[in-house]
Symmetry: C2
Subunit: 286 residues, 2 copies
């Protein structure tokens, strides 16, 4: 699978840096974002279904094609858990449609978002036990569509509310059970604290399943659990160290910037992009 | 070790509920707090060094003796990491003095607080590697003083800032290396999200090292990473389920209420205590 991530990046682009639209989506629509990334000669972009809807799918296809930018990640399929009966089936249908759209956009992988616990339901263990089975069906569909399915463990502070997948070890366990076609995205924000991180990165790398490496930073103090991620270098994560582990594990793909932050959403998007690129060049040498 | 926790609770007290002063420290000093707990016939209290200082150690001893309440946890020894040279030595000295005071108060165990990373230092792995050695000296002292040393993994969102110990598995690993006299405190807030929780609780129980079980709840949304814990039952943690796991692991000690919350700190302390007791009776049958 990492071969796909590597191959999708244009060989003529020296820079191994991908920008996720979430970083500037409050201030740039998808057309402006793709244009800004193409002007900076980035390796590719990661995109969001809602942003495609805002400008229309035909136009989104056209601007991406004209830009020559590769699409690394498509956000997103899910939530998949947290519903019962007909609503559960309709959630899986919606996830399948997102997988199809990711494939239409030639994305390397589609981000799978588990979602949180249903209101009033505290049985985290039961939902986790059923997750593999639920994903197996979606994985078959992703395989048929030719797009990778990416599991991204989220920070434990998002457990129950946004996700039930909270460590890279758990994501690796799920991938082991599911087989080829599914991989992991390592977002430093979500996993940096884990004493088993290096081991689990090596494990994911050995299985050839690292699909993406997302960067940002952990600020002290963190003032909001959803919208206070830091710019690379402004926080306390050993970004260069984790990047070394990911490279050592055999990952040859790009660094993807994904910053959810009210502070940065309030700044000029060109300044945000230039700052992010400059920080990535200095920290990751991309 | 769990025998100590069990033995310290007065056999004539039916209620197996301990109150941590942190729950009402903004509105009750230690004298008022101990009195309020004694009037409610609780099994014991967990106390704080700063609160002892506020009323004086002699008076604190006297009111505890008069109350007949057992002291379960003493807060706290640490931070121990994050300093260099003479400052590091003085931190260890301070921790030793706290251990001695915990012993003078007849506490079952003293809470060990690792502290976070020094400013500008991102090498979490190096600090974790040195933690065992640092704790070994303190553990010798705790053994000599006859007080248990309690490692409490904190939530990963506090990593780097407040702690470097972020999972029950890591705490168990440390205890394995350190040997007798050290145990763990399971605070539901910090560990509930962990897919390995049941396994690690069983492991801690099998080693006879569960020293305490702290309760509160995880609110959705959580508005502050330090001061927004919920009252038991107001959040999404499966409290009864985790309590079952802790009991199955052989823990015979009490349930300890510890709520850090600006919302509850703004309420009448008697109302807070009564609400907490009522919730514990209904959820944990204590």
């Amino acid at each position: 699978m990492p071969e796909r991530t590597e191959a999708i990046i244009r060989p003529d682009v020296a820079c191994r840096l991908v920008m996720n639209h979430a970083t500037v989506r409050e201030t740039m629509d998808m057309a402006a974002f793709v244009d800004a990334c193409a002007r900076r000669d980035l390796a590719g972009v990661s995109i969001w279904g809602e942003e495609i809807d805002r400008i229309g799918e035909d136009r989104a296809h056209r601007i991406l094609k004209d830009s020559g930018l590769a699409v690394l990640g498509y956000n997103r399929a899910g939530p998949v858990i947290g519903a019962a009966g007909a609503q559960a089936a309709s959630r899986l249908d919606a996830a399948r449609r997102e997988i199809e759209r990711a494939a239409r956009f030639g994305a390397d992988h589609v981000m799978l978002f588990t979602g949180g616990l249903p209101a009033g339901d505290k049985d985290l263990g039961a939902h986790r036990a059923r997750l593999g089975e639920m994903l197996a069906g979606l994985l078959d569909h992703a395989r048929a569509c030719g797009v990778g399915l990416a599991l991204e463990p989220l920070h434990p502070m998002l457990c129950g509310d946004r996700t039930i997948l909270t460590s890279l070890g758990d994501a690796n366990d799920l991938c082991d059970r599911l087989g080829p076609g599914v991989g992991v995205v390592v977002d430093v924000y979500h996993v940096w604290w884990d004493a088993r991180l290096e081991h689990e990165i090596a494990r994911a790398g050995a299985a050839g399943r690292i699909l993406g490496f997302h960067v940002n930073d952990w600020l002290v103090p963190t003032r909001d659990i959803l919208r206070d991620r830091g710019m690379m270098g402004d926080g306390i994560i050993d970004l260069a160290g984790i990047w070394r582990q990911v490279r050592m594990a055999g990952f040859g793909g790009p660094v993807e910037v994904e910053i959810f932050s009210d502070a940065w959403a309030g700044r000029e998007p060109d300044e945000v992009l230039d700052t992010a690129i400059e920080r990535c060049r200095s920290i990751f040498a991309v």
